[in-house]
């Protein structure tokens, strides 16, 4: 039997091209397996071959989603693969979005079985889990072996048109699909069993998890912005030069609160970024490129805003757990309210 032909998608980092300084590279294609593709190919034990690897920089993809998608699709199409695999992207946000976007496109536009893998908190997972199979992985590349062990069997089933089991059986992220099946016990009995377990404080599994709609309604608009006190917040990791609070370059465990009283402009001498998830060169030259203090000072002088709040809050947004950033913002929002802040401009890289 001929080997299964796979095209694999990875980013510049996993291709060994470079880190953030190379994140703007355009899509390119290489024959054969590259980087994690070796492990995936090995996982198929000789049944499959990665005929080509498409590589694209994460920033290029994130900044040009539509164009990048088309370019990558054309490259994939050129190899007429039997199967398409993207990633796994673990907890890398832009990479996850790229993997999800391209997996969905290959599946729906080229009709080729496709799957990807990522950590459950990757924004790409939320965006694409309903459209495609996203295998749940650990949050870092240390989980590669585990990811491959889940992706390969699922890929084979997809390829052969076999029935796909439940998310917990197959290791993919829930897609919100309900499936009818026959069961020994009727509903009333199962419900009572579940209730008894709950009363005893034992673990039980719901048969119908409620969707997690955590949305917050927009607050009313600012009536008169020329009177408003505006605060700056960023996930771009802007800190005073030297990073006095030692905010981590990724997976931040804290945020900083920094005084900009009298500061009219952020410069290479005064501020920098602690963020490890983008090329810091431009930001370190001029942090206003991430946190627009200079412009807000001008607007303040011209009376276009009431005032710029004396403190800004900053953390690094890459790989930082949703739970942590939620906690940070809960804390500093209380301070913002106590300080009479009317509105916030939050910038992200």
């Amino acid at each position: 039997m001929a080997k299964i032909r796979i095209v694999h998608y990875i980013n510049q980092f996993f291709a060994g091209i470079g880190g953030e300084e190379k994140a703007d590279i355009k899509p390119e294609v290489r024959e054969g397996a590259v980087g994690p593709g070796m492990a995936i190919q090995a996982g198929f034990g000789g049944e499959a071959e990665i005929v080509a690897t498409v590589i694209c920089g994460d920033s290029y993809f994130g900044e040009n989603i539509d164009a990048a998608k088309e370019e990558v699709l054309e490259m994939v199409k050129g190899y007429s693969p039997d199967l398409f695999i993207a990633g796994p992207a673990f907890n890398a946000g832009r990479y996850g979005v790229a993997c999800g976007t391209i997996t969905e496109a290959v599946q729906s536009e080229l009709n080729i079985p496709a799957l990807t893998g990522m950590y459950i908190e990757n924004p790409g997972a939320d965006m694409y889990k309903k459209a495609v199979y996203v295998v749940e992985t650990k949050n870092s590349a240390a989980g590669m072996k585990d990811a491959v062990a889940k992706m390969v069997p699922l890929a084979k089933k997809l390829l052969n048109g076999e029935e796909i089991g439940s998310p917990s059986e197959e290791g993919y992220i829930e897609r919100g699909i309900r499936k009818n099946y026959f069961t020994e016990k009727r509903g009333s009995e199962r419900a009572v069993d579940m209730l008894l377990k709950k009363l005893k404080g034992e673990a039980f599994t719901t048969e119908y998890p409620m969707p997690d709609f955590d949305r917050v309604d927009p607050n009313p608009a600012i009536k008169d912005i020329t009177k408003a006190k505006i605060a700056l917040v960023t996930s771009g990791g802007i800190v005073p030069k030297g990073n006095p609070d030692h905010i981590e370059s990724s997976s931040a465990s804290k945020y900083g609160k920094y005084d900009i009283d009298g500061v009219m402009d952020l410069t290479a001498e005064t501020h920098e970024t602690a963020h490890g998830g983008f090329d810091p060169v431009y930001c370190n030259e001029d942090s206003d490129r991430v946190l627009p203090v200079d412009v807000l000072r001008d607007l303040e002088k011209e009376g276009k805003i009431g005032e710029l709040h004396r403190y800004f809050y900053s953390t690094t947004g890459n790989g930082t757990a949703v739970g942590s950033s939620k906690k940070f913002a809960e804390e500093f929002s209380k301070e913002l309210i106590a300080d009479g802040v009317d509105a916030v401009i939050l910038t992200s890289t």
Partner: protein, 77 residues
């Protein structure tokens, strides 16, 4: 963070490059930015032009804060 600030009752505008991520995260007022390593700048412009570009984005975010919205809105005009 954007959602928690909103939940606390403060109107917030999110300036970001990858708008789909902002939509997924749940920001209500979104202003698209220039590029991931320099959302509010462009190093290929000269200083004056770059600041003018930054000012345009900030002004757009002020308009967003002054605009009543009932659902997630991207201010891209």
């Amino acid at each position: 963070m954007v959602k928690e600030i909103e939940r606390a009752g403060i109107p917030v505008v999110h300036i970001c490059t990858v708008v789909p991520i902002s939509l997924t995260v749940g920001a209500n007022r979104i202003v698209p930015a220039i590029a991931i390593p320099h959302p509010l700048g462009n190093p290929s412009l000269d200083k004056e032009e770059e600041k003018a570009l930054r000012r345009k984005i900030v002004e757009k975010s002020l308009v967003a804060l002054e605009t009543e919205v009932t659902e997630q809105t991207v201010f891209d005009k």
